[in-house]
Each structure stands twice: as structure tokens, then as C-alpha cells.
């Protein structure tokens, strides 16, 4: 019981993942500033923002459905944190694992987007409703490429468990390189999931203020912001576990340091892409995802299937 509480609340649960999320946000913002030739925020800025938000009054829109409005940020945060429990961090074995946990993790990562939709829709503000509709439209564009690109390596490893996949790629490191295209697909999809430039259409500041989050303030907004940070960490961890499963057998300490570096690499790539692109329009984004990203994801899947056939 005590160990379960420790897992959930301290490591790798709430406390660790919150700190890691804030650190990832800091690195994202600082790196972005450096890339834009700015000084950037000091190290405590994400924490200061969070403390400020928590201390502020939470304003409820009169027309909003208050139950859903209040519930959604909590659901989003819970889903994002839970997803991390199934991802291997310090060794090939995750804290919990079972056959099919890949699907569960992907599913848990979809929940925040759904909560953005519901929270935005039930705020009953026009900006939130447009943002919510855009969130869900975008979800259909990136979700399938993301699933395909994560499932392709799983097919090759012949397992639906992330931990077993890590073990498999630890034994056959060269097969990991084979999923190179899948990594970029997943990274693109992750940009869409985290609603970052060029796919920050659902919260396009200059069009619809803050999209789904327009009416959110105070503690509830803090929850949503934490969710996005944690989603970033969890998404990056998933990419690290599936596409960069190296060095995890070298013992917990080395494995864990390597894990942190891999996550930061993914975060850095996300920051880089958000500095060098302009925001696309929703129709252009969907075009791009279905015309280019999804076919490549399919090709990756087919290639993995053929390789598997060749290996017998």
C-alpha cells in the first residue's frame, strides 16, 4: 500500500512528473528564446507562473456547464500522469506493464485533447467553442499517423507491451534504426497533440485568443497548463521508449540519465520546430497530415510487416 502511494504521489507519479514537466517547460521556453536571440526566462519562471495562477481567483463563466468546466482539467491531468506509469524509464521494465499497455498509453494521451474539447465546448464562449472544434478536428488528422507510427515498431517486436518492446529492441538494436521514419511521424503528431506551432491552430492567439482555454483562469488553467507540460514529457518519453530504446540495460542510474537526455532531445526538437515554422491553417494542417504524414506512416507499417515476414 505504502509503495503504491509512493509510486503514485512521489516517483514516478505526481511529484516527479510535475517537476519534470516544469523543467521541460523551462527548457522549451529558454531554448526557444535562445533560438530567437533573446535572453529568455529565468529557471524558476514556469514555477512562478504556476504559483501565480494557483493563487489567482478562478472565474466561472455564467453560461458554462460548471460540472464539466471544473472536472475537465482534473481528468486531463490525471490521464497524463497515469500514462507515464507504463513507460519504461530507468530500465527495460516499466513500473506496470501488461500485454496491450501501448494502446492504453496512446489512449490515455488522447484523453487530454478530449478534455480540451469538452472544457472548451462547455465554457459556451465563441472563442472556446471554435477552439474546441478545432482541437477535435485536428485530433482526427494526427491521431491515426501517431497510432500507426507507434504500432509499427510494436508489430515488429511482436508484442503489445512497451516493456517487452524495449527488451526486444535492446536485444536487436539495429531493428530500432529501421523505424527512423516513424520517429519523425510521431514527432509531427506530437506537435499536433501538444498544440504547438505549426499546429497550434486550436489555440491560435491572434485568431481565437486562447481557444479552449479562453474562459479558464486561476487554478483550473494551472491544471491545464500542467497537463500540457506533462503531456509533453509523457509524449517525449513514449517516443524515447519506442524509437530510442538504447542503453536501458546498463543499470537503473545510467538508464535513467539516458532517459532524461532522450526526453530532453525530443523536447529540444519540439522547440526547434516551433521556432522555424509559421502556423498552418486548419485545412492546410489536415491536408498535410492526410496527404503526407499518414501515407508515410502506412509505408512504415508495411515496411515493418515485410521485415517481420522476412525474419520469419
Amino acid at each position: 500500500m505504502a509503495s503504491a502511494l509512493f509510486y503514485i504521489l512521489i516517483f514516478p507519479g505526481f511529484l516527479f512528473v510535475s517537476v519534470f514537466g516544469l523543467a521541460a517547460e523551462y527548457i522549451d521556453r529558454k531554448l526557444c528564446a535562445k533560438l530567437q536571440n533573446r535572453v529568455g526566462p529565468p529557471w524558476f519562471q514556469p514555477l512562478a507562473d504556476l504559483v501565480k495562477l494557483v493563487a489567482k481567483e478562478t472565474v466561472m463563466p455564467v453560461d458554462a456547464d460548471l460540472t464539466i468546466f471544473r472536472l475537465m482539467p482534473v481528468v486531463a491531468l490525471t490521464a497524463a500522469i497515469t500514462a507515464l506509469l507504463y513507460i519504461p524509464m530507468w530500465g527495460p521494465q516499466a513500473l506496470f506493464s501488461f500485454q496491450g499497455d501501448v494502446i492504453v498509453v496512446l489512449y490515455l494521451l488522447t484523453i487530454p485533447t478530449l478534455t480540451f474539447f469538452l472544457g472548451g465546448w462547455y465554457s459556451r464562449s465563441v472563442f472556446s467553442m471554435i477552439g474546441a472544434a478545432r482541437s477535435i478536428t485536428q485530433l482526427f488528422a494526427y491521431e491515426i499517423p501517431l497510432f500507426l507510427s507507434i504500432l509499427a515498431p510494436a508489430l515488429l517486436a511482436n508484442t503489445w507491451s512497451l516493456s517487452e518492446m524495449t527488451v526486444f529492441y535492446g536485444q536487436h538494436p539495429r531493428y530500432g534504426l529501421f523505424n527512423f521514419a516513424g520517429f519523425w511521424i510521431a514527432l509531427t503528431a506530437l506537435l499536433g497533440k501538444l498544440e504547438k506551432v505549426p499546429f497550434d491552430i486550436p489555440e491560435a492567439e491572434t485568431e481565437i485568443v486562447a481557444g479552449s482555454f479562453t474562459e479558464y483562469s486561476g487554478r483550473l488553467l494551472a491544471f491545464f497548463r500542467m497537463t500540457i507540460n506533462i503531456e509533453m514529457v509523457v509524449g517525449a518519453s513514449l517516443l524515447a521508449a519506442v524509437f530510442l530504446p538504447y542503453g536501458l540495460h546498463l543499470g537503473p542510474l545510467v538508464g535513467f540519465v539516458l532517459y532524461l537526455l532522450k526526453v530532453l532531445l525530443v523536447v529540444a526538437l519540439l522547440s526547434l520546430s516551433r521556432t522555424v515554422f509559421a502556423r498552418l491553417r486548419i485545412d492546410q494542417m489536415i491536408d498535410f497530415c492526410w496527404k503526407y504524414v499518414a501515407p508515410v506512416a502506412f509505408a512504415q507499417l508495411l515496411a515493418d510487416l515485410m521485415l517481420k515476414g522476412l525474419l520469419g
Binding site: P198, E205, E207, T275, R279
Partner: protein, 407 residues
């Protein structure tokens, strides 16, 4: 997406707009089906205030019509006054005026490039162009004594001379800026995501541009070959050689190309001015009392043609000042350009005319009850009317004033 139409308020307070202005957009899904532009949130009564002040004071007041094209407005105004008074501005004065005007164009267009980047979610472009814009801002602070309100003009000439040591600094700054502008031209024409967001957006055909009376880069991007600097030369433009940049893309992409082209022309002009700077005085003494008369002055501001009308009655105060800022001419085309476009295009299309709502609003008359009111009103009547109007809105300014007085 719901099938029904709904209206979203873009402004008067909205992150896309840097100044208060209201665009009520009717949407069907993501498509814009109707739009209602409401001006007048930034009315400051500057034209009326001009009549209460002397010509010397008005130069500074007029300069504050706009924070970006401050030199444009003050030059346009002093040109009109000089024409009424029959003042011959010395050549050196005219050259320095032109130099500041072109430096202002550089800073305004670089600002626009950054704003355009921000509106399409490309903040990196904003950060870099505004970093490089600091070069020209610092140069203007060095030459004129301020970064924004240069205070360079006075009736009869300019207030500050360009010294010999400043000339190499100007040339060095222009070299840096030219190199950077070439890079931004490359970015704008080669970065795929930018082209995707700009090209084919906010289309304004050549005929519509003429018909709706667009001015400045907005018109020139629709192949309307019109530029006051060439068509009706003022200051030193008659003696300088430059090209009027036009483009036939008819969209926001074309407007970007025109502005980048104008930046390159501005560097050419600045080099010419510096090389041919004539000697002599920079200003003539202007009389305090301007003889009776009227004049209309035209000026090619960075945003388009700026028009000032001044009437003097022989005293030291103008009888009437009328300003037509370029944004007023351009704001009509916005609604036209956005018809049946996506909501996502709205910020960039509004930004593409480089709107300056403060300039536009300073004297718009918004009256819904036109028939009920007499055409001219006396000052006490106007005052009583305004107090009454605000009382109806639930604000009692007389009460407020009293509370402030007590404090």
C-alpha cells in the same frame, strides 16, 4: 461544427489587434460570411484640439496622431502651413526631412514584417525583424533625439542638422539593414509555411483596388502604380531617383513583396540623400501669425497617401485642420478581402493593410442620430451633449471630477 451562423467579436480588445477597433465577424464554421467594421474607439479629438493651439504647438500635436508614422503626419502638416505662409524651405532642410522620412519608412516596414509574422504564428520572424529594427530606431534617436516622436519638423524647415560624424553611422546602419532585408526577402519568398499562409489570401483585384480607393502598398500590390513621392513630388523627392515598387500578386504575399521592395528602395534613397546633402541653412524663420489661406498637402506615408488640409485665418491658430490618414482609405477593402475566407486569415488580412487605427480614429465622426442633431453645435452645447450622453450610459463625469477634486 454547428450549421448555424454565429458572430464573434474581434476587438475592440483582442490579441490580434494592437489598437482598439471592432470587427464583428459572422462565421459559418470556419468561413467568414459577413463582417461589420466599427471605427471610432480611439477618437481623441485632435483636429479640434489643433484649432485651440498655435501652429508651433500643433506640429507636436499632429506628430502624435500616430506613433509609427509620426514624421509623416508632421511633415504633411508643416508642408500645408508653409504653402499658406509662402515659405521657401532651404534645400538642406528638405533633404534632412526626406532622410528622416525614409528612415521612418524603413522602421515602419520592418515593424510590419514582424507583425505579419506574429499574426501567422511565426514569432521567430517577429523577434528577428524587431531586433534589426532596433538599428534604425537607434539611428533615428541619434539623429533626431527621440526613438518615436522625432520632433524633427518645424514650420520652415527642420530643427536639427546632420553632422559630419553622423554620416558614416547612417551608412553603416543602412549597410547592415540592407543585408538583413535581403535575408528576410529570402525567408518570405522561400519559407513554405509563410507562403502557404500569405499567398492567395486577402485577394484584392486591380479593379477593386481602384474602385475602393486603396492606397499605399495595399494598392501597389494590386498593380496600381501610384505613389505621391513620384506623382506629386514634395520635399527632396523631385531631385532623387527611385522606383515605385508594384506587384501583381494582388494578395498578402504581393503586399509583403512590395514592402520588402520599398525597403530596398529606401536604402537607395538614403544613400543618395547622404551623398548629395546640400549645404546651407536648415530652416527659415517662420512668422507666428500665418496669413489667411488654405492648403492641401499630400504625403506618401509608409501606409499610403496621407492628406492634410489646413485653413488659416491670419491669427497664430489654424481655423481648421483636417487629416485623412491612409488607413481610413484602406479599411474599406478589409471587409471585401475577407468575404468567404477562413477565420484564420482574418488577422493577417487586417494586418496586411498595416492598419493604424489611432491615425484613422482621431477624427471620425460616428453619429447614429444624424437627423436629430444640428449640423453645427456650439462648444457649450457639445459639452452638455457629451455629459448627457455619458449619463445615459451610466457614467457621470461631473460627479467623477468632483470626487477627483476632493482627493
Amino acid at each position: 461544427m454547428p450549421e448555424r451562423n454565429f458572430t464573434i467579436p474581434i476587438g475592440p480588445q483582442h490579441p490580434a489587434l494592437k489598437e482598439p477597433e471592432s470587427f464583428n465577424v459572422t462565421l459559418q464554421g470556419e468561413k467568414i460570411v459577413g463582417m461589420n467594421v466599427r471605427l471610432g474607439y480611439n477618437h481623441r479629438g485632435i483636429e479640434k484640439a489643433c484649432e485651440e493651439r498655435t501652429f508651433v504647438q500643433d506640429v507636436y500635436l499632429i506628430e502624435r496622431v500616430c506613433g509609427i508614422c509620426s514624421h509623416s503626419h508632421s511633415t504633411c502638416f508643416v508642408q500645408a502651413v508653409e504653402e499658406i505662409a509662402g515659405l521657401e524651405v532651404p534645400k538642406r532642410g528638405l533633404y534632412i526631412r526626406t532622410l528622416v522620412a525614409e528612415l521612418e519608412r524603413v522602421h515602419s516596414h520592418l515593424l510590419w514584417l514582424g507583425v505579419a509574422g506574429h499574426e501567422i504564428g511565426f514569432d521567430t520572424l517577429l523577434m528577428y525583424t524587431w531586433r534589426d529594427r532596433e538599428v534604425v530606431m537607434d539611428l533615428l534617436a541619434l539623429l533626431t533625439g527621440n526613438r518615436v516622436h522625432y520632433g524633427m519638423n518645424t514650420i520652415g524647415g527642420v530643427r536639427r542638422d546632420i553632422t559630419a560624424e553622423q554620416i558614416p553611422q547612417i551608412l553603416a546602419a543602412v549597410d547592415t539593414l540592407e543585408e538583413r532585408t535581403k535575408y528576410y526577402a529570402q525567408v518570405a519568398t522561400q519559407e513554405m509555411t509563410i507562403i502557404k499562409r500569405l499567398s492567395g489570401v486577402g485577394v484584392l483585384s486591380h479593379e477593386d483596388a481602384k474602385h475602393l480607393g486603396a492606397v499605399g502598398p495595399t494598392a501597389r500590390a494590386s498593380a496600381v502604380d501610384r505613389d505621391v513621392r513620384r506623382d506629386d513630388p514634395y520635399a527632396a523627392y523631385g531631385a532623387l531617383s527611385f522606383n515605385v515598387v508594384t506587384d501583381n500578386h494582388n494578395d498578402v504575399y504581393g503586399r509583403t513583396l512590395v514592402r520588402v521592395g520599398e525597403l530596398m528602395e529606401a536604402y537607395k534613397l538614403i544613400r543618395q540623400i547622404v551623398a548629395n546633402l546640400p549645404g546651407g541653412p536648415i530652416a527659415v524663420k517662420a512668422p507666428r501669425k500665418i496669413p489667411a489661406g488654405e492648403a492641401l498637402s499630400r504625403y506618401e506615408a509608409p501606409r499610403g497617401e496621407d492628406i492634410h488640409y489646413v485653413r488659416a485665418n491670419g491669427t497664430d491658430k489654424p481655423e481648421r485642420v483636417k487629416i485623412r490618414a491612409p488607413t481610413l482609405a484602406n479599411v474599406q477593402v478589409v471587409a471585401h478581402m475577407l468575404k468567404d475566407r477562413y477565420l484564420a486569415d482574418l488577422p493577417i488580412v487586417i494586418a496586411a493593410i498595416d492598419p493604424c487605427f489611432s491615425c484613422t480614429d482621431r477624427a471620425i465622426r460616428v453619429r447614429s442620430d444624424v437627423d436629430a442633431m444640428p449640423e453645427t453645435m456650439s462648444w457649450p452645447a457639445l459639452r452638455a451633449q457629451s455629459i448627457d450622453w455619458y449619463r445615459q450610459q451610466g457614467i457621470d463625469f461631473t460627479q467623477l471630477n468632483r470626487t477627483f477634486m476632493k482627493k
